[in-house]
Symmetry: C2
């Protein structure tokens, strides 16, 4: 799957991923009204609104981008109907040949991580049959439990040709509270990064490992160091746009080959129509605003990479 991701990045010339993290407050009135008219102000109504909203954005951007990253929490908050909208979104994006990164941040003791891995990236056995529960292509994983919480995910990736992005340095303001603490002269995130690089070594695609890392755009200096600690690791970079990351900050997340990173934007793309910059599109044409925001993001990042 890492090979497919790289091929698609080359083809689109866009090392970016659109974060499908819908909040009801982002969803244009006409979509909410229609969904609530059909299902009432219910979890099912919210799920329908999310699904229709996502579909519009995916249809308007899928030819420009290699991948999407739905954040499962935004669906899970609406219970079972929300998770059905998540699954529908994953399936639809796959039907559009997009690489789907499930932002699930799971991680537990071995046997439990194995269940998550099977449910999200693999197939679960039921008697003589087997089924993919959610069927994402990549998943994000939390490393706090160490190797035996991560390895079951790696095993499933190996079997199914899927991939991971393991949290190394997250984009949020308080990520340093534990991740930056110094251990034997180096911050925890470097130790985690080193471990990710090790896990990745035995699990290589053609150019990069399918065991990737998450490093926030909001910490470009740390990204620079982690790029060197993990030379063959693909880095998923959240925090661009709404969280404060800019194109020029991002160049050090990439290798000299122009690869090695994929930058996520969520709100900045999916709720672009709410920004002054794209207000002229209007609420009805929210998806066209998202398309324009994708184009601008590609330009920002390509420009920064060309000027490095």
């Amino acid at each position: 799957m890492i090979n497919k991701l790289i091929t698609k990045i080359r083809k689109t010339n866009a090392p970016i991923v659109v974060g499908l993290d819908p909040m009801l407050s982002y969803i244009p009135r006409h979509i909410q009204d229609k969904a609530f008219a059909e299902y009432g102000e219910t979890l099912e109504g919210a799920a329908e609104a999310i699904w229709q909203y996502n579909k519009g954005i995916v249809d308007a951007t899928c030819d420009l981008i290699p991948a999407v990253k739905p954040q499962i929490a935004m669906y899970e908050q609406f219970g079972i109907p929300g998770l059905m909208a998540y699954k529908k979104t994953v399936d639809y994006c796959k039907s559009k040949d997009l690489v789907v990164i499930g932002d699930i941040k799971r991680g537990d003791i071995g046997s439990t991580s194995a269940a998550y891995a099977v449910g999200h990236l693999g197939k679960v056995q039921v008697g003589s049959k087997s089924y993919a529960g959610f069927g994402e292509d990549f998943a994000t994983v939390n490393p706090y439990l160490g190797s035996d919480g991560v390895k079951p995910f790696i095993e499933v990736c190996k079997e199914e040709k899927k991939g991971l992005f393991i949290l190394v340095k997250t984009s949020n303001p308080s990520s340093g509270e534990f991740q930056d603490r110094i251990i034997d002269g180096r911050p925890l995130y470097e130790w985690v990064g080193e471990k990710v690089a090790q896990w990745g070594e035995d699990h290589m695609g053609d150019e990069y490992s399918y065991i990737g890392a998450v490093v926030g755009a909001t910490y470009p200096e740390m990204g620079k160091i982690l790029r060197k600690v993990m030379p063959k690791t693909f880095i998923l970079v959240p925090g661009y746009g709404a969280q404060g990351g800019k194109g020029a900050d991002l160049v050090h997340f990439f290798n000299e080959d122009g690869l090695g990173a994929i930058v996520n934007s969520s709100r900045g793309i999916i709720a672009a129509y709410k920004q002054e910059k794209y207000a002229s599109f209007g609420e009805l044409a929210y998806a066209d605003a998202s398309r324009q925001a994708v184009k601008n993001m590609i330009e920002d990042i390509s420009g920064a990479l060309n000027n490095r």
Copy 2:
């Protein structure tokens, strides 16, 4: 909810929680056959088998125990139907007046943690209405992202009178890889424990905080230290039984008042009938075997507490 948990522990004299972590391989043949006859060898069939299996165990043990801890991964692996069985299990346990600890180990950046918190412990707003997506009483949370990944959970707990158990030192063999690393002379898990104690201080029930911690039974010496680092923190202790923890190892997780900890056993209870010790119950009476295993666990722990 921490007050309710403590009241129920006192009433049952059982500081234990039954981990409802069903694997298909644990489920007696007659339950699987019936479910597959009705739904086929499908995700729905697996979910029905899990639900019937859980119901049997809950019916057979609910008068003896204060709480259950369903591990969501074991349901999530079966996709949407699996998660419907999770929800059904949560609802059923609540109808039996059991405290439900959702072992979800979520944790993300602020806005995302807020969505998880709302979905599992709070209510999500849909237009003028609001709904509880999953409605557990407590949830487990991963601290790797620091305060702003945890605080949205705390906010919802405060509003809804719910509670958390935050991972401090996990029970798995490789938990030390990052958690035991030394920072300024003390292991990471102590720093996390100290933080949990701080978060808890402002969020007190009558005797203990509703911001609890997870510390594995498999590390009794560390439990002893963490008990002192977090005097007002309730500790959820996984790893008893199948993972290797024994009653005598557990006394130091408790305070002198005999409170402050709740010990989880999953496989050791729910698949008791598979152990030689309980084999005489037979597969059909699997739930009676679970009841006996609960009684023995209570005796083991009470005995150890009385002999401390």
